[in-house]
């Protein structure tokens, strides 16, 4: 009798999946608490600080809140309205959650483990579920597009005006912002010469220059676009409460709503991971983590800690921005994507391509260190020129409010003296 034994690599992958999914779900639950805390602190309130360890009086600053929140929403009635398309309605939350979790197969969550010397397991073991995946970035982007599909399905299958509008807005927004997102990404891929996210981190660690410094314009464009992709304020039009009730998840309740909300937080975590990995050096920190592939256990944990701290900082920034900036109007959103972010992304791409192309000549002409300085200075010059140009031209500042040639004073004049001389008053 020959039993099928999974290979050690499979077991290692399963262990990593278990750790990652468990970690992500816990992180999403605690990010809800963090979001509520930050919302409260920004508004001079105290925030949730009551729930501690269940059945005791210990409060722990409210760290038990995620448990209470989770229990509450799971135990709530899962109501399905009669007018929905049952199959798609039930499929949508699963699609979006599966897609947002599967993204993490290609995202490294640390550096590498020190050699374990287990026969059959290639050393060193990377903090990555699918280490052999050569198209990591493409995988991430393909799956984040599938997640949009879940939003659309949810909005459409709900057979509800608000849900439909939310899904519609979401599709237009995500299609528009995937282009600047891709352009920001292309610059990084050009500079690093690889589509693997761990290779991109290693390239930044080797050179010591994070891509946020080498490609400021790309960083800006990517950052703005990932806010839009994660549908966070100021780009949260798909679920603008004031206009659309709940947007695409208006008709959802109970555990299905929970799946939507968790995957929204997973989107934010993904965006923070991508920003940190591609632009903020990943696990690298000068003089602390080292840059090589040989690490001790302490070093591996330190790199994991540095990466997590950076990701947490980016997420806190996401949450602070939520309370700093009002939501864009839909036409402003679109013109920001197509008229500002797209040209800026192209400018960044051209600059990076030129710098990478002429780097050997620069090194030959100026020497290694001056060439690096020039390679950093040129994108910064482009950044300032592009920024000021977009400010002067204000393509996103279009004001399409009606131009009133017929003010309150004219109306008063008409009321007092009959029709005024403005025969065409009220037209633009």
């Amino acid at each position: 009798m020959t039993a099928y034994l999974p290979s050690l690599e499979t077991i290692a992958a399963l262990v990593k999946i278990g750790l990652l999914v468990g970690g992500l779900m816990t992180a999403a639950a605690y990010l809800v608490l963090l979001e509520r805390w930050i919302a409260a602190w920004v508004q001079d309130r105290r925030g949730p600080n009551r729930v501690g360890i269940p059945l005791t009086k210990i409060r722990l600053f409210g760290l038990g809140q995620p448990l209470a929140d989770g229990l509450k929403i799971i135990l709530k009635e899962d109501f399905t309205p009669k007018h929905v398309d049952k199959v798609l309605y039930n499929a949508a939350p699963l699609v979006i959650l599966a897609a947002s979790l599967a993204i993490f197969a290609a995202i490294p969550f640390g550096s590498v483990l020190p050699p374990l010397n287990i026969p059959g397991l290639p050393d060193p073991v990377p903090f990555l579920v699918a280490p052999g995946l050569d198209v990591g970035v493409l995988w991430v982007f393909a799956l984040s597009s599938i997640a949009v599909y879940g939003v659309l399905l949810g909005g459409w299958a709900s057979n509800n005006k608000y849900g439909f509008l939310g899904g519609l807005r979401s599709s237009a927004q995500l299609v528009a912002y995937e282009i600047p997102l891709g352009l920001g990404l292309l610059g990084v891929v050009l500079a690093a010469g690889s589509l693997k996210l761990d290779a991109i981190m290693n390239a930044q660690a080797q050179s010591g220059v994070w891509y946020a410094f080498a490609q400021p314009l790309g960083f800006l464009v990517f950052m703005v676009a990932s806010f839009a992709e994660a549908a966070r304020l100021p780009f949260d039009l798909p679920e603008a409460e004031q206009e659309l009730v709940g947007g695409y998840h208006t008709e959802y309740s109970g555990i299905k709503l929970l799946l939507f909300l968790v995957s929204e937080f997973l989107h934010m975590i993904t965006a923070a991971f991508l920003i940190v990995i591609m632009f903020l050096g990943g696990w690298h920190l000068w003089g602390v983590t080292g840059a090589g592939q040989e690490v001790t256990w302490a070093g591996a944990l330190l790199r994991f800690g540095v990466l997590s701290a950076k990701i947490l900082a980016v997420i806190v920034f996401f949450m602070l921005v939520r309370w700093s900036w009002p939501r864009f109007r839909f036409d402003q959103l679109m013109s920001l994507a197509w008229k500002v972010m797209l040209p800026l992304g192209l400018a960044n791409l051209v600059t990076v391509a030129a710098v990478e192309e002429f780097r050997p000549q620069l090194v030959a002409a100026l020497g290694e260190s001056w060439a690096t300085c020039a390679a950093i200075a040129a994108p910064w010059a482009v950044f300032f020129v592009g920024w000021i140009a977009s400010g002067i031209l204000t393509p996103s500042g279009t004001d399409n409010r009606p131009i009133l040639t017929h003010g309150p004073l004219d109306i008063e004049h008409e009321l007092l003296h009959g029709t005024s001389e403005h025969e065409l008053a009220g037209t633009r």
């Binding site: 602190w41 001079d44 309130r45 008063e412």
Partner: protein, 177 residues
């Protein structure tokens, strides 16, 4: 008011300057405000342990009380002015002949439905003898609707409970005693 009224100043929205059109400076300004508020002192309190500060107890409108006079009798003369003034119709008085020589009537029963009350303070305004007053007690709770209908004894006990912390308002506000 007409649009051409001299009291109205019509303003045009100012065009954006370059700093505003560059967007990021304004964004940083907003972010600074947000960050400053995040660490600034909180305005809310941890309620059951800490009590919120009541501004001026003389003008605060909390739970009602029925004042007693110097001899410990209820001051109310059952004139029904408070019940008439009450917009929520939450005051129910049963008057009877007074056993004391200084007034004709006194309330045999005096009930306030605290759940119906809107805490507008009209009863307090209307009372000619300053018998009904609103205290600064703000956490009014109960386990049933019946419990929230305060009768005369309950209202008098509110006075006994609060008289030291909050003397009768009429004297400090220059009213009758």
């Amino acid at each position: 008011m007409k649009p051409s009224d001299p009291g109205i100043t019509w303003l045009e929205e100012k065009p954006l300057g370059l700093t505003e059109r560059l967007y990021l400076p304004l964004f940083l300004q907003g972010l600074t405000t947000t960050a400053r508020h995040m660490v600034s002192p909180k305005v809310t309190v941890n309620f059951p342990e800490q009590r919120p500060a009541v501004g001026n107890p003389l003008i605060y409108r909390g739970v009602h009380r029925l004042n007693r006079d110097d001899e410990g009798r209820v001051k109310c003369v059952a004139c029904f002015l408070c019940a008439t003034a009450c917009p929520a119709h939450c005051i129910d008085i049963v008057a009877t002949e007074s056993p004391w020589p200084d007034r004709e009537k006194y309330p045999e029963s005096f009930q306030i439905d605290e759940l119906r009350c809107i805490f507008c303070g009209m009863c307090e305004e209307a009372c000619p003898v300053d018998a009904i007053e609103l205290t600064s007690l703000l956490d009014l709770t109960g386990k049933s609707r019946e419990e929230m209908i305060f009768d005369k004894e309950k209202l008098l006990s509110v006075y006994d409970m609060t008289k030291d912390a909050e003397p009768m308002k009429s004297a400090s506000l220059g009213g009758t005693l």
